[in-house]
Symmetry: C2
Subunit: 108 residues, 2 copies
Amino acid sequence: MQLEKYFVKGELIPAIVQEKGTKEVLMLAYMNRESLQKTLETGYTWFYSRSRQELWNKGATSGHLQKVVSISGDCDDDTLLVIVEQTGPACHTGSHSCFFKKIKDFAE
Amino acid sequence: MQLEKYFVKGELIPAIVQEKGTKEVLMLAYMNRESLQKTLETGYTWFYSRSRQELWNKGATSGHLQKVVSISGDCDDDTLLVIVEQTGPACHTGSHSCFFKKIKDFAE
């Protein structure tokens, strides 16, 4: 697999995680080469934590693992879309999705 | 609205764009303060182009505008999720979504 093209612009690429069944967007995290490789090899999501500067296997401590269904890249190779089967909540707050802070709803 | 918290980690915040009806993830682009403000004011998506270093109103030249339904922030205020009604294809290639390059499908 040609993965190098995803790391031309930077060492980290944003990965959108979307739930297969509900199509809900669960979270966004970052992958480096190694975490993308581990995700492809294991079938579960691995990311790179910018704050802790280390790889993390999503759900390894909480049990809230993400089983990968598919991974796609975008048109200009600088974002990934990871479709998963989510066990438990995706968010560390206990929310199913991380996107629970509504900024604005627009009128129809 | 408290928008400053979205620009603490950096001047740009990634914004995931998802289609309302299909729930398809269409694209990811970046917003700075001004583009977020313009999006909130106009109800159509504005982003900041990192390559051209300027604001862009998505679809202003192609006509493929994105009417905003809602904007949410994530748990740690470093990603936005923008739900839109998409006119025409979201991708400059003519694809409905930018995520058309399948990297891997995992077996059931």
